[in-house]
Amino acid sequence: VGEPWARAPSSRAASCRQQQPPPPPHRRLSGREKREMQREILALLGLPGRPRPRARPASPSRPGAGAARQQPPSAAPLFMLDLYRAAASQDDEGEREGELGGPWSLAWARGLPRSSAADGADTVMSFVNLVELDRDLFHPKPYWKEFRFDLTPIPAEEAVTAAEFRIYKMQSFSWHGNQTLHISIHEIVQEHRNRESELLFLDLQDFQAQAEGWLVFDISAASNHWLLNRRYNLGLRLYVETEDGQSIDPGLAGFLGRHGPRSKQPFVVTFFRASPSQSRTPR
């Protein structure tokens, strides 16, 4: 193993090495060998080449790293890093106890909402919100907020087991704290010029106006529609109503969108099972 790949040995590894016979002399990997290994790692990840994120996003694990020093990490990477840590610690626990639950069951145990469909997932993918439209107080009722996510990066052969829309709600000071709000999420099925869009109801949840935190909506049905008919991804629409059916501007109810703090911006998470890996040429 050549120098570019070598690392300083940990104390545990070092103590193990003291008891082993001296390793064979290392040799430096040639540029061609390094490129081969890079290709192999990318093949394991199922990637045709190394991804090149457009704006060099801030890394949640390495705050202040590189060019993204000014930008704090956004909500989706933070959530995904929490899932990663849960999965990693569950891998360790499974090895110790000799049993394996769902890949993310520890994450659910830590307070993240549980979805039975997500338990068998091998891959989790988060999507940033691309487009946001508002029908606010300056428009006639009903008020709503629209979001659009591009799920085309999901390979066609993957089976989505669950999808969630996550949005942060601040405390609403415009309404009585103990008032219950009905929040519903709909898939936009078809848009019309002269009349209201056709919607498909997806999920409904009730919250106190003073509640603050992440709200999670099940949008599995919409994600499956979008994957089957990729041209018809028209997004999601969120409505907020009081108990007596009065429409409320989602912004006034405390819902944060693209213009909120980066760590509280809405995103979509999809869980899916990995397709059987393609055979690779052994090295």
Binding site: W5, P51, R54, P57, L81, D91, S126
Partner: protein, 139 residues
Amino acid sequence: AARQLRKRQHQKTKHPSHANRLPGSFDDGRVPEGRQVCRRHELYVSFQDLGWLDWVIAPQGYSAFYCEGECAFPLDSCMNATNHAILQSLVHLMKPEAAPKACCAPTKLSATSVLYYDSNNNVILKKHRNMVVKTCGCH
């Protein structure tokens, strides 16, 4: 035999990280001709050294373990080998064309996860089952 057993137990506690190592005369990790016995080896891959930290979020690198070495079964030091591999070695010795030589291969694997950005700034967490070699043995 009792003395040999005690010796083996002592060596087992002395080398806890290599329980799959063949005991007896191969405890130094090499067969008499200087060849290595079946054992787990480590290759550390650093995403930082690859210049990939702009898209790989976690981990910063990983230990890629692989099994390498020769499988040999002297009659007095085969306690860790499977009977099948011993028998295969004997058949291979007598009729090389009838059975291949027993080979060093993973006997226990565990999962690993990678968290990374794609080109659209979406974040992907991918769990690969049966990826990390935990122990090696003769097959």
